[in-house]
Symmetry: C2
Subunit: 206 residues, 2 copies
């Protein structure tokens, strides 16, 4: 299937499969099954087989999936076989946590630039990054041809910063602010809002 015809909900599960398969590879496993993968993820094996079948034939009936091969295929499908530079806007506690997050390495992303608009933060170091003035971000991002941004700014600033990032050529935004942002057609947005997840779980609590 072409990218546009696979349901987005299926695409959204692939990164979870990739993460778990990579973990299996780290554990030294070579072969797995949709049953085993499903058990580890709390997803039915039928769902996993159906999801993967949208993209090709990755395992043989009865012999399971070669983990290294499937990891490689998922990386290609998700376009993370190479490394994307990512910009972070917002150098508060959350920005610090994002910079120090250990999960980017080997998963297709590298933090390129860190921005803030607070004069007391600009010029300071976070890890190995110098916090840059967000007012210079449009030129920097264009010059480096960066397509992905993470937004860790207060809600009140989220839309203004978004508009600037879009102007700079950003085409995918991961928004940590607990608000919705408006973007033009062709720009993807995903939200990280802990309350969305908490409310999803309380539905099931007795």
């Amino acid at each position: 299937m072409s990218p546009s015809t696979v349901p987005d909900i299926i695409v959204g599960r692939l990164p979870l499969y990739l993460r778990e398969l990579s973990k299996m590879a780290e554990e030294g496993k070579e072969i797995t099954s949709s049953q085993e993968l499903g058990k580890r993820l709390g997803i039915s094996s039928a769902q996993i087989r159906k999801d993967l079948s949208q993209f090709g034939e990755f395992g043989k009936q009865g012999t399971g999936y070669n983990i290294t091969f499937l990891v490689m295929q998922l990386r290609i499908i998700l376009k993370v076989e190479d490394v994307w530079d990512v910009v972070l806007v917002g150098a508060g506690d959350l920005g610090h946590a994002v910079v120090n997050y250990g999960g980017f390495t080997d998963r297709g992303f590298r933090l390129g630039l860190v921005y803030d608009d607070d004069p007391s933060k600009i010029g300071q170091m976070i890890g190995s990054y110098i916090v840059q003035d967000v007012h210079s971000s449009v030129d920097d991002i264009r010059a480096r041809n960066i397509r992905i941004a993470m937004l860790a700014v207060p809600t009140a600033d989220a839309q203004t910063v978004t508009d600037r990032l879009v102007e700079a050529g950003i085409r995918a935004i991961l928004c940590y602010a607990p608000t919705s942002i408006s973007v033009p057609e062709g720009v993807k947005v995903e939200y990280i809002d802990p309350v969305l997840h908490l409310q999803h779980m309380t539905y099931y609590l007795p």
Copy 2:
């Protein structure tokens, strides 16, 4: 429909609807339509009508939805009409960001206790919370009958802490560590891992 028969993917969209409708209410709007809500969220109006219809009849054909009423109904469905106490384990940068996150208020959650296992952090203040020793968490959580936890600990500690939380009676865990955790039947887990979202978006990038 009973909670167990509505597809989980639909349940997962309700918090997003609730967030956007609450924002509309704050903007002073009284009535909305599935078209308007869909446009603001990037979801089709047909999908929104179909999702809401799983839970009842919330709008009249041609007159749209009363926002206050729909917000109230969604809060009841998601069981956030009252306030849940939540425990946070992990008092690093991410823990600080969670404590200082402004999005919990009025959305059904209140941070009750903050834990860490690092002697240099125990006893320190984060915002208005004193960081408690995680070794006392089982007794505390049981005594206060808390059901929900957020996990902001390093990957290496995630499973050990999870086991302790489950023993204490926690039934919903929001895991920020970039790893999968194992829980017994009946315990819900959701993950916050920025790379899962980034990889979801790169699929669509040219």
